[in-house]
Symmetry: C2
Subunit: 486 residues, 2 copies
């Protein structure tokens, strides 16, 4: 695997993302020998500082946040490839020296002519920076490639996302825009397609005939920290549902792609997203829960009477022949009792013909005989399967048993950080683990429609205690259906 | 659960089975409080000995062979219910005092009028003893029940089994004859039906559409010990295949019974056994392997030029619509490298459309992408499932992963010995875990036909090294089919 190198420019090079995620990811790749030798990095920020000062700051973050141990010698080799450029990049007049610095850096590291622009800053800065790059002929060149990586959120709603996309697509072509949903870089999300299509026993069961319902949960115990200014404008639906939850749903539920090719996979995900809608309401508000944790309005930078949801739970339908009638329950929230991300597939229960009155089976299933397949995304990746066995020594009693596969335990490999994979993907020009514009658009259409449905139904909030399981209404939504959250 | 007690008469009360299996099982049941209070035991042997001498001998065996720890106080309570009667029970003249002793014992323990006759001796003694019991009106009475438990082998071939059955059925009705196949008392064998029918995900896959083939193995590392006289007359086919292997096959492959009722289940097993035959030979002798370990002829009580197989491997077909085209590979043998009993189900491989060249899938499957379900019977009961996941950190590589469920680990219960369950079953009058005459008959028809096929094909033996995997021809049989023993 020979990955082409590039000069990576981080706009927001002194920010949180650069320090906590990007620098540690680059350092890990370097340690593992996976970073191309003709790679170089230019951090961009407004403050004046020297290369060596910037390197020192990154070194201290890496030793704090990287999953690898500190190797001073390796760092010294890497540090030489790291530079800093000071300037307010909103303004066109700052681009001549900037362009010069970046090109020098590329030449020094091998002159491959490839440039990767990473937008690690507030969304309102994406457009002016992109336009300035275009203006200074930095988005195309005689040789090499130019690619842009953009952090979520890609827009705030459908109309702002469209506007951002129109701007970007006037500057650079779709295939050079890498929209990050870092969940797609997580091991278990990549594993979903392998588990589905590399195992004969799952595909035949992966449909409405055998699956009772699906649960997708992304539960956080943390609050919003000092991200109040961002979060209060966004909320759980935009922050988690529109991106991470819908991507997990798409991978779990999409039709088999004809081949493992980025376009083919993204087309199938798009088809799936287009088929998703809120489960038709039988009674008002029953299938959409918005919650806010008690004390949220007192958090730093949050509006005094904030109407932002910190929790949401929904019952969704996928309107195609594979999933007709199968509910997908999704939930995400902050300040909850636990911290986990997982997909749970509950299979239908067997008829009671064998274990009960033979006639009972005509009317009902044995609802206590559960089969669950759990895809664990966080904190520990893995797969678990709950099935039923005979209770030892008992004549007729059936009890649940669990088989567990723990991915990091089995392979004794530190699961690579999502950003390591994603950076390599961009250098390789592989869009598989990035969202296409069409997917983003489809996600926003759905998210907007849910928001407007919530507003129409008076926009109620259910307040929940910090450290609780979430609003009771979210539990009730499943209980009404004779189910419960796993 | 109130189990009716009885007076249990062990013919062969000083023998190996009584000491190693029956007495420890009764002791365990007593410890667990599962032995009815009106239970009593009469051990019968030819040597003169007192009750207290007999009790002492059993106590010493129990403390050696029971899985429970020794509890002197509990034993003292149980010992009072144990008696010994000396006599050569081939001869009618010995039955008057015997009958007297047994009846006294029953009256002393509560007088329930129930008698359980356990034939724990050489098969040629079954008939004379049964006839004498009949002659002395011990096989029926005004009150209570009379039941006979018979150890395998039930006959030596079809004709001797029929003869024995004719004798027995003239003496006592079919429903009072309990033919032991102690494998049916093993936890995992009982678990097969629960696993199949209490889990929605297995039943849809349990057929030729999804299963590539099935392997049933009962491998022993021990030799024949001092059982040469018995074993050399019998061999692996009669000792293991006709009984244990075919019962495992029947439970694994039978159609779902309409209810969990002894007759219904035994009828389904019989239907299955009737559908089994040796896989039609494409080339001579390829689907039937007879082996003998090197040195077998030098074992004690073995004929100098013995033609007895100590190993057999077969490829069987089940001629019904569920299993058409699916090979069942069975193997059993002595003096092998390992000691285990298990059923392995290999599912078909997925098409290569997703993980390889899309066109390849038209022609072939990805044979390296294996799904296995293993039902582990011995030494540790459990279920394992091998499936495929993405190799962490790798982009495209798929690797096998295993989930494991260990029954004793999960429940922290000592799995009860097969004989504990089987003795309770007989007292309860439950025939589920015993073989019906029809099943035995069907097994002998198949076993005889295989023997005759072997003779027709010159009756070759493949000699294998003690401590090896078995004859190479057994490995070749699968390799020819593009498979291998798991």
């Amino acid at each position: 695997m020979s990955v082409p190198g590039c000069t990576m420019v981080i706009f927001g090079g002194t920010g949180d993302l650069a320090h906590r995620k990007l620098a540690p990811a680059i350092y890990n790749l370097h340690l593992e020998g996976r970073l191309p030798s003709d790679f170089s990095l230019v951090g961009v920020g407004r403050k004046q500082k020297s290369d060596s000062q910037y390197r020192q700051e990154l070194a201290s973050s890496i030793s704090k946040y990287s999953s690898s141990t500190w190797d001073e010698k390796q760092w010294q080799t890497l540090a030489l490839k790291i530079h800093y450029h000071a300037g307010d990049m909103r303004y066109a007049e700052n681009y001549l020296p900037f362009k010069d610095a970046v090109e020098t850096c590329n030449i020094e590291s091998g002159g491959n002519g490839n440039y990767l622009y990473y937008m690690a800053l507030a969304p309102h800065l994406f457009t002016p920076i992109a336009e300035n790059l275009k203006l200074h002929n930095m988005t195309a060149g005689e040789s090499g490639w130019r690619r842009i990586m953009i952090e979520k959120p890609f827009g705030y709603d459908l109309s702002s996302a469209r506007k951002l996309n129109n701007t970007l697509s006037a500057i650079i072509d779709e295939e050079s825009i890498y929209r990050i949903d870092h969940y797609l870089g997580k091991e278990m999300l990549q594993n979903i397609l392998v588990i589905r299509f590399a195992n004969t026993i799952f595909e035949p069961l992966w449909n409405k005939r055998f699956i009772d319902h699906v649960q997708i949960s992304a539960r956080e115990s943390d609050g919003i920290g000092d991200r109040g200014r961002y979060y209060d404008r966004v909320g759980a639906m935009r922050d988690m549902f529109q991106s991470h939850l819908l991507q997990m749903l798409a991978l779990m539920a999409m039709e088999p792609p004809l081949k493992a090719d980025p376009d083919t996979i993204r087309t199938e995900k798009l088809k799936l997203l287009n088929a998703v809608h809120l489960w038709p309401e039988e009674e008002s508000k029953s299938n959409l829960i918005f919650g806010q944790y008690y004390g949220y309005m007192q958090e730093k930078d949050v509006a005094a009477y904030s109407q932002t949801e910190t929790y949401t739970a929904l019952k969704l339908a996928v309107n195609n022949s594979r999933w007709q009638g199968v509910p997908f329950y999704l939930q995400t929230g902050k300040k909850l009792e636990d911290k986990l991300v997982k997909i749970v597939i509950q299979f239908k229960s067997p008829p009671s013909f064998y274990f009960g009155d033979p006639l009972e089976g005509v009317y009902k299933e044995r609802n206590d005989l559960i089969n669950l397949l759990t895809l664990k995304v966080q904190p520990k990746e893995g797969v678990a399967f709950q099935f039923n066995v005979k209770k030892p020594a008992a004549i007729e009693e059936v009890v649940p048993a669990e088989m567990d596969f723990c991915q990091p335990c089995a392979f004794l490999i530190n699961t690579p950080e999502a950003y390591e994979l994603l950076l390599l993907d961009v250098m390789n020009g592989d869009q598989t683990r990035f969202s296409s514009w069409n997917e983003i658009e489809s996600s926003w259409i759905l998210t907007d429609s849910i928001h407007s449905q919530h507003r129409k139904s008076l926009g109620n909030f259910d307040i929940y205690e910090a450290g609780s399981l979430g609003p009771e209404s979210a539990a009730d939504m499943l209980i009404r259906d004779g189910r419960h959250w796993w």
